[in-house]
């Protein structure tokens, strides 16, 4: 990927993110934050490659710690967001 390609992706994704998020009502700000935080755990896929590559002990150790931290972020993030969202209930929905 060229730098220009990468920058294009970056800028377009920022605009898309702004469009998506500006519509979220205040009542969902906490789950939004923990859910989007879980998505930022995407670093995990980089960590997996670093941890599994046979380069040096140092990079393997760094990779391993990164995998642990990112996995906590991903697994914990999606789980706790699901827990919170399950609590948001509406009378009109229950009746239907």
């Amino acid at each position: 990927m060229t730098l220009l390609m990468a920058l294009t992706l970056f800028v377009l994704a920022v605009f898309l993110g702004m469009e998506l998020i500006s519509k979220v009502p205040a009542t969902l700000h906490t789950p939004l934050m923990s859910g989007s935080n879980a998505v930022s755990g995407i670093t995990l896929i980089g960590a997996l490659v670093s941890a599994g590559t046979d380069h040096s002990t140092l990079t393997t150790v760094l990779g391993f710690v990164a995998v642990v931290l990112a996995t906590i972020n991903v697994v914990g993030g999606f789980l706790v967001t699901g827990r919170m969202l399950a609590m948001f209930s509406s009378g009109s929905r229950k009746r239907s």
Binding site: L32, A47, G52, S56, F88
Partner: protein, 460 residues
Amino acid sequence: MSAADVTSVAYLVAAVLFILGLKGLARPRTAPRGNQLGASGMLIAILATLLDRSIVDFRVLLAGLVVGSAIGVVLAVRVQMTGMPQLVALFNGFGGGASVLVAGASFLQVVDEGLVDNQLAIAAALTALIGIVTLTGSLVAFAKLQEVLSLSGFRGQGMLRALLAVVALAAAVMVVVSPADTGWFWLLVGAGALLGILGTIAIGGADMPVVIALLNAFSGLAASTAGFVLDNPLLIIAGSLVGASGVILTQIMCTSMNRSLFDVIFGSITAGGVVADADEVYGDRVTSTSAEEVAMILEVAERVVIVPGYGLAVAQAQHAVRDLMRTLNDAGTEVVFGIHPVAGRMPGHMNVLLAEAEIDYECLLDMDQVNPTFAQTDVTIVIGANDVVNPLARTDPDSPIAGMPVLNVDDSRTVVVIKRSLGPGFAGIPNPLFAADGTLMLFGDGKKAVLDIVAALLNA
């Protein structure tokens, strides 16, 4: 199709799922599905990555996944809703930390192989700085929210911070100029770590929503810049989506406090502004009341608004408030909640607490929805909130909180304020609402006071 093609297609699918997931989070009804879509995208991305040919040893990697999952599950299942700000701060930090380590490992490897170029060095330096600030800043925020740390600023802090920023900047430049000397990279990480600590250590309780939103943006940004290091489009896309979301939340929080981001991080709230003397404001005009008297007023009320603040979370009063709402509903009284955007310690904190107590989210009104309705409200009950209901923000242009959008509870016929004492809120200023003609003060613990009112209503 080669393995690399399969991975690329899978990353594209994952990116689409992340976008659909965030879109779903915009409405309470679709939000659980949105979260599941996001999680599926992550699973697909992980499985596709395992096809990478440069992975030769799966043991380390599986060990990391197992350990991380176990810790993540325990944290997510055990946390109480009142502790949510701490947990989100912690997760933000871990995300930032992971990005630093990934960028570091990748940078070291490329340097060893002699393949480093300017673009990669710049991206690695940026990731290191943003990621490590996110990590240490989040850990400090966590400690402050958990109340294991109550340090405030100290003399010379600004100087030290400026010095560290210069060191970090110089180290970042050296990483690019002379990447083979990896010591510069670690100096950058060290300076960034201290910068994260010093940047957050002086930030007070009510500013926490801004800080957490900002750290959220940073954790996304760090993942995105790590994508530039690894040349990975999925990291760039997902990271910038999250970064954008954090920036928007930060902006909303700052607007709701009428404070600039600069003031939150560097300034103090009392800069300028004239603070009135508490005795002068309160005098002997404060009217104290009892749970029985409040119950009598509520019996004849047709519309009641409840305004929760951080005090509600501290007193764990959300279930008691739910009981009060149900008791009033049974008597035919309309009850809604008026929620200020920065009530609590993170964006949306109050909504999650009230949702936990099974209160219908359609009864939770935000500031713009509830403000025009106070004039038709018989009783407004303020529980553990102070600055966000201070009328001085509207009336006194010299006040430190002048111009901050507040809930106009003083428009309602009667205001009942449940509070431990007349002590000031975060802004450190007295609140004339407490001494106003239509205001009754019910002093005491939020949960006990609400339960007493419910008991008095049921006994009547």
